[in-house]
């Protein structure tokens, strides 16, 4: 891993292998199709000849004398009985044959043309080495030569050569054998090769017809021994066996003068085998199959595609010391923690170097063995392997643990199993931002899943419908330090995207804190104490006595988890739109959440206070008290939320959406009214009396008018429904507090679903002039264009259901298109910016040192530390100082 670049690629040259070259690099001429003899020893001159390398321990390579891991393997070769075409070059062979004369071998251009083209070709080759430019020019020249039917040099008449895919050439219906093709290619002159983009130094066209086939080293096609002791050969070896067999039979038939028909059949068969040896998915021929019916994986298949060498093995590296499993929630864990199942913890290890200070502890650790448990049968970290200074690994088992522990000396390394408190990296794909991979400390838990606090779902964008996540165990001290200091969850609470908290309360946290603080409820002491037992506290909230009974107040309980000294005043989400007095609060003061010296005196805690993305309290705690206090606040909030909700109870159901008959009738009335009004609008439009609004056509005006009418009734029906659904309704509580859903969703369920739209307009596609054949062509009425007057509660009729599905599909298509588009855009940006860096003076530079920005972000402000993009919130600080306690 040390040292710089030892070799630099100066250039790459592509060339053809000549038969001589193949023979020269070959260590053995393979003549037998057999592999091993009865004793399992490689047969000489067979496909597993020892000259081509060794894969069995104990044997030595007959070429280099190396043992299994020392010998790199060597090529052999097969002499083919008759020449065959190389499928990979079929296009080039066709151009070469088309552009040259079959009798004299000259390119079918006049001397003058040859002279001028040669000059241009040479110029291009000199000025650029871009293969694309050369290829383009060569294509033009060869096309011109191919279009000639009479050779300008010898006058031979040519008929059209047809390529019968994949490898057969025909001239006037008669087959041109590879042998003949080879002869024609041999006649092509060296000095005319440049017209075809070939370099005469390294490539002769006849080499595209194979007479000799290289046999790849055994290391490339190792045979495997099955559990039954049976040998199983690699697909490539199978294919080579076929080639040798057919080649031999062809040779015999030819030599003993068999009928031409039989020879031709065998020749075709040889061609088939060689073709499928290169590419088993060649169009036009059936793929060669294994005995089991599985298609063989030959040379091209090894390289190509997602599972090929490039995408799978070279670009897709896999790491050790990692684990992946399903995730599930655990509110009793801190945001900084991750629950790791014991099974995973036993496999994952951290290297511990033994020195004089820790040798005794390490010996004790090793002595525990790999399945250590304490006296109450709880998990204890053991050791899987010990590594000697010379790098040899010794497996620790329960049997040899005691003995091995005595051997451990300073200088050794011990692979210790994961233990509570280890810092690890936790990740969910797609890793779209830096919070997709954060540092967590380990808690060993029962069962099979990774577990974490619900507040951390947001940065990972995780839910628990089957999501899986990855865990990586850090192996070096430096990395561990970085993970602790900068990657730990608490350090990532502030998002660099908008300078606010990205980790905060979700669903139940918000519901619970809302119910706990809204209207400052009185909580009987015994209930309150039960809730407080979920928290780790040093003090109790003040008690109020009413009618001889002792009570806590909700806000006082919430105040317990706030840091001392916090001063804050902000508008709650519940009352964000209220002007003078908030309709949901009895006390006008409660319009604002007021916190003085860590004690909440007014207001309602909701999404605006503790939500991820928005939470003001989380934001302020982080800035004033730092990451640790914030993490503690979120942890306590989660526990308090669970404690509160599990004793109070909270549930939602369809009865949440029951509204009185009178309200349903009223909604029916206004929706019918809207349909009528739409009808009238269409009527005026038909008569040509509709006045276009400025800058719009009459048609557009009609659409906009109708949309606003239908929009209005939907809002109206929502209002009617909401009148009967107050803050004692669980669905409304969730919507108003920002825990989940919007009021719009509730009005869709209880009131009316409303106008469906595609691309911002009413539905208009489908049949000619109508959405469905139930309507007259050109019907512009409300129902015909996707107005749904039912609610989800009452149910949609089939027409409405269809319209609703049209609208719903747009959303799905949008998501699919958006994710792929934005994903690719982000990838391009990442690739463009990946090696820019910010230097000591906050200058943004590329690798050369060229300036991109003179100051990071033009102002040098770290958006993570900015206040929602602004440098400072003066009002907050003024308020804080004003209420500072001496």
């Amino acid at each position: 891993m040390t040292g710089g670049i030892s070799k630099r690629i100066y250039r790459i040259q592509f060339a053809l292998l000549s038969p001589e070259e193949i023979r020269k690099m070959s260590q053995v001429k393979v003549i037998t199709a057999d592999t091993y003899d009865d004793d399992g020893y490689p047969i000489e001159r067979g496909l597993m000849d020892l000259h081509m390398g060794v894969i069995e321990p104990g044997l030595k390579c007959a070429t280099c004398g190396g043992k299994v891991d020392e010998c790199p393997g060597h090529f052999g070769h097969i002499e083919l009985a008759m020449p065959v075409v190389h499928v990979g070059f079929i296009k080039e062979i066709k151009t070469l044959l088309d552009a040259t004369c079959k009798s004299c071998g000259r390119i079918k251009l006049t001397e003058d043309e040859i002279r001028s083209y040669r000059e241009r070709m040479e110029n291009i080759s000199l000025s650029t080495s871009d293969p694309e430019v050369i290829g383009l020019m060569s294509k033009r020249i060869t096309e011109e030569a191919s279009s000639r039917s009479v050779c300008p040099h010898c006058g031979t008449q040519h008929s059209k050569l047809i390529l019968d895919k994949p490898t057969t050439f025909r001239e006037e219906g008669i087959k041109v054998t590879p042998k003949e093709i080879r002869e024609r290619m041999e006649r092509i002159r060296d000095d005319e090769l440049l017209f075809f983009g070939l370099n005469k130094e390294v490539a002769r066209p006849e080499w595209m017809i194979l007479t000799v086939l290289p046999v790849p080293p055994i290391n490339l096609r190792p045979s495997i021994t099955l559990e039954t002791g049976e040998r199983s050969e690699d697909d490539l070896t199978h294919k080579l066996v076929d080639i040798i067999r057919i080649s031999q039979r062809l040779r015999e038939s030819r030599d003993n003068g068999s009928p031409q028909l039989i020879i031709e059949d065998l020749w075709d068969l040889l061609q088939f085998h060689v073709t499928t040896y290169f590419d088993n998915q060649t169009a036009g021929i059936p793929p060669a199959r294994h005995r089991s019916g599985r298609a063989l994986k030959t040379l091209v298949q090894r390289l190509k595609g997602k599972e090929g060498r490039f995408r799978s093995n070279l670009s897709g590296k896999r790491v050790n010391f990692s684990a992946r499993t399903v995730i599930s929630p655990e509110p009793f864990l801190s945001v900084n923690e991750v629950g790791v199942p014991e099974k995973a913890a036993r496999e994952l290890t951290v290297p511990v170097s033994v020195n004089t200070f820790n040798v005794e502890q390490v010996r004790e650790l090793v002595a525990r063995g790999p399945e250590a448990r304490d006296e109450s049968d709880r998990y204890l970290a053991g050791v899987n392997y010990i590594i000697r200074p010379d790098g040899r690994r010794i497996k620790v088992t329960t049997q040899n643990a005691e003995e091995n522990s005595k051997r451990v000396e300073p200088g050794w390394t011990v692979e210790r199993q994961l233990t509570e408190g280890d810092i690890v990296l936790f990740n969910r794909q797609p890793s779209l931002h830096r919070m997709s991979m954060m540092g967590h400390t380990v808690r060993i838990l029962d069962s099979q899943t990774f577990r974490f606090n619900l507040a951390v779902c947001t940065p990972y964008n995780a839910d628990f419908d089957g999501d899986e996540m990855n865990l990586h165990i850090i192996q070096k001290e430096e990395a561990r330090a970085e993970a602790r200091i900068i990657m730990k969850v608490q350090e990532q609470i502030m998002s660099p995207r908008f300078g606010g908290p990205i980790i905060g309360g979700i669903h139940d946290h918000i519901t619970a804190m809302f119910l706990l603080t809204h209207g400052n409820p009185m909580i009987p002491e015994n209930v309150g104490v039960h809730m407080l037992s979920y928290l780790d506290l040093d003090e109790m909230p003040p008690v109020e006595v009413h009618d001889g009974k002792r009570y806590y107040r909700g806000r006082d309980i919430f105040s317990l988890i706030l840091p001392k000294g916090l001063n804050l005043r902000f508008s709650s989400k519940l009352c964000a739109s209220a002007r003078e007095k908030c309709e949901y609060e009895d006390d006008p003061e409660d319009k604002y959440v007021t916190i003085i010296n860590g004690r909440m005196v007014h207001g309602t805690i909701d999404e605006a206070a503790i939500g991820s993305f928005s939470g003001v309290i989380i934001d302020r705690i982080f800035r004033k008290y730092g990451p640790e206090a914030t993490a503690k606040f979120i942890d306590s909030m989660t526990r308090l939320g669970v404690g509160f909700l599990s004793i109070r109870g909270f549930s939602t159901g369809i009865s949440d959406y029951d509204i009185p008959e009178s309200a349903i009738a009223r909604i029916e009335e206004i929706s019918n009214d809207a349909i009528e009004r739409t009808e009238k609008l269409v009527e005026t439009y038909r008569k040509g009396e509709l006045m276009p609004s400025p800058g719009r056509s009459v048609e557009d005006t009609l659409e906009i008018e109708v949309l606003s009418t239908t929009g209005m009734v939907r809002d109206e029906s929502g209002k009617i429904a909401s009148n009967f659904l107050g803050l004692n309704n669980p669905s409304v509580i969730m919507a108003r507090s920002g825990a989940r859903a919007k009021m719009l969703n509730i009005s869709e369920v209880a009131g009316m679903v409303g106008q469906q739209s595609v691309r911002g307009g009413r539905l208009n596609r489908g049949y000619y002039g109508r959405t469905l054949p139930h309507f007259k062509q050109g019907d512009l009425g409300a129902t015909a264009r996707g107005f749904v007057k039912s609610s989800y509660m009452s149910g949609l009729n089939p027409l409405e259901y269809f319209m609703h599905s049209i609208g719903g599909r747009e959303g799905l298509v949008d998501i699919a298109v958006r994710t792929s588009r934005s994903g690719y855009m982000q990838r391009r940006l990442i690739n463009a910016f990946e090696d820019l860096k910010v230097n000591e003076s906050l200058r943004v530079e590329d690798t050369v040192g060229a300036v991109i920005q003179f100051k990071y972000g033009e102002d040098g402000v770290d958006p993570t530390k900015s206040d929602k993009g602004k440098t400072i919130d003066v009002d907050y600080h003024a308020y804080d100082i004003e209420h500072e306690v001496a």
Binding site: V848, A850, V851, F854, E858, D859, V861, S866, K870
Partner: protein, 87 residues
């Protein structure tokens, strides 16, 4: 038709030519060689507008750009006029 001066548009930041004698001072302040500065094409509309005032600008002239910034008031950026024209 009156010719539009792009520099007077509110969305175009202020462009100024740095005088030859001040160039060294600017570069020293930045602690950077001239060839590492960001470039600006001679065909850039802002350069064309500057040339109306200063006459032809040769390649290598440093342009100082002052952009409005919500956090800093304004921020300064430098670009060097290229000798070739980008397309």
């Amino acid at each position: 038709m009156a010719k539009l001066n792009v520099l007077q548009h509110e969305l175009v930041p202020a462009h100024h030519v740095v005088k030859k004698e001040e160039e060294d001072k600017v570069l020293k302040e930045l602690g950077i060689a001239k060839d590492l500065l960001p470039r600006i094409s001679r065909s850039d509309p802002a350069i064309k507008a500057l040339e109306e005032i200063h006459g032809p600008l040769e390649g290598g002239t440093i342009i100082k750009i002052s952009r409005k910034s919500p956090t800093m008031g304004y921020s300064v950026y430098y670009r060097v006029v290229t000798s070739e024209v980008f397309k």
